[in-house]
Amino acid sequence: MTGEKPTGNVFKNLPPGVCIPWEEKLKDLGEIKGDADIIRNEWDKLELFAYLYLWYWVQR
């Protein structure tokens, strides 16, 4: 078994469907010049894909 002991999590208690919270991403993005909702909606879609990819290997 190669996975070492748990290294500790960066995030805590994230809700389903989320890998990296939008609020966290917002910090990186800084000032948003256009419509934040457009950016967020698309961000959330890919978040959902990443989430489902990870859980796919558990819910089998």
Binding site: K5, W55, W57
Partner: protein, 391 residues
């Protein structure tokens, strides 16, 4: 979609959904849960359907073309073997790789989550899956950040996206061309099974109930919203058809009654009730014998599940759950494999007479139909329902 097919699709959908609502449709719906059998019908080897997504879907198309069923379960293979090779998944063996080309896929059970992982899992399971679990179950991803691991992650995610898209397109086409409806949309598990199947393993979870009961319970509570979410997300938001839930370790005699009440049932109930609140029914695929737990299962809201009868005592299931929950099943798979068509006919006729008479019943095999079933026996099931199943 041709008019005929769209009419057929509506007819079958109404038939199936009426039965799920415990009503009497025009006749008893046929909802055979068929997997590897379809490869046989289509003339493909198991390696072909595990590895070739196109053939996998073709096998399903061939089956619904030749057999007059109302619902389909999925393409014969639930997994695309190539996506497992890409990441080096260690827990499944596929035909044509380490098994003979016509051998059924096999699980290799392991303790891929260790007792000391509980805290990190409870704190944030999604992150734990990526940082700790995937490197253990994906050989190619053993050293995250390395060249091989990065390639594996790209391929694994890409493969999943390709597979999802092709499967969605393929099944939409099958609905259009053959007018059959899905038996379910989306998938989820009992929290106890999520942990017991893929993470802690059977031995691990049995030990945990004695050694770390509080952590086990906390982890299952954490899983409740994830498992509700997973069912809805994998169904693409559909709430018309039930979410498939294969149930494993809650079958008799895995757990003693106290363990069942304390560990298995509370979070399972929460998942089912949570889904029902969102309008989503659960396809309670009760593998094995669930007879001792029927009274507890009857606590669920009316119609919130379809109860699949495998080795559960069907008389008791009818008595305790009938009228409030649709029953589905329970033609023995050994009968389909070694019985004669006349025997199959008698069995199905008896199911129709004794259990389907007042509605709320779907004809199916007891367990998933694999390659051992005889084609003439599957035909006998369908002919019998068409002949005697009218209400």
């Amino acid at each position: 979609m041709s008019n005929d097919k769209s009419k057929l699709l509506e007819e079958r959908k109404k038939r199936y959904l009426t039965a799920l609502d415990c009503g009497k449709p025009d006749r008893v719906p046929i909802g055979l849960t068929v997997s590897e059998f379809m490869a046989k019908v289509a003339g493909f080897t198991l390696q072909e359907i595990y590895y070739d997504l196109d053939k996998n879907l073709k096998a399903l198309a061939k089956f619904v073309e030749e057999y007059e069923v109302d619902t389909f379960f999925s393409a014969p293979s639930l997994w695309w073997a190539a996506s497992h090779d890409a990441v080096g998944a260690v827990y499944l063996k596929f035909a044509g790789r380490e098994l003979e080309p016509n051998t059924q896929f096999q699980y290799v059970e392991g303790e891929f989550m260790l007792p000391e992982d509980y805290d990190a899992f409870i704190e944030n399971p999604t992150e734990w899956i990526l940082t700790t679990y995937l490197p253990r179950i994906h050989k190619e991803f053993a050293e995250p950040g390395s060249y091989r691991a990065s390639v594996a992650l790209i391929k694994g995610a890409g493969a999943r996206a390709m597979e999802l898209q092709l499967t969605q397109q393929g099944t939409a086409k099958i609905m259009e061309e053959y007018g059959v409806v899905p038996a379910g949309t989306g998938l989820t598990k009992a929290p106890f099974d999520t942990l017991g199947d893929a993470l802690r393993g059977l031995k691990g979870i049995m030990m945990d109930m004695r050694k770390v009961p509080d952590k086990l319970k906390a982890a299952m509570e954490v899983l409740v919203p994830h498992n509700i979410f997973y069912a809805l997300a994998t169904a693409g938001g559909d709430t018309e058809f039930p979410a498939f839930m294969p149930l494993h370790r809650g079958a008799y005699p895995f757990l003693n009654p106290r363990q069942w009440d304390e560990f298995y049932w509370p979070t399972l109930k929460k998942v089912i009730e949570g889904l029902w609140e969102k309008g989503k029914r659960t396809y309670f695929f009760a593998e094995g014998d669930w007879t001792p737990y029927l009274e507890r299962i009857a606590e669920l809201p009316d119609k919130s599940i379809v109860f699949h009868v495998d080795m559960t005592d069907i008389d008791k299931a009818k008595k305790i759950l009938g009228g409030r929950f649709c029953l589905k099943g329970n033609i023995p798979n050994s009968l389909l494999a070694v019985g004669k068509p006349e025997e199959v006919r008698d069995y199905v006729k008896r199911l129709i007479d004794e259990y389907a008479a007042d509605g709320g019943f779907v004809i199916d095999a007891a367990a998933v139909v694999q390659g051992d079933a005889k084609e003439e026996n599957i035909r006998a099931v369908i002919e019998t329902v068409l002949l005697y199943g009218k209400y």
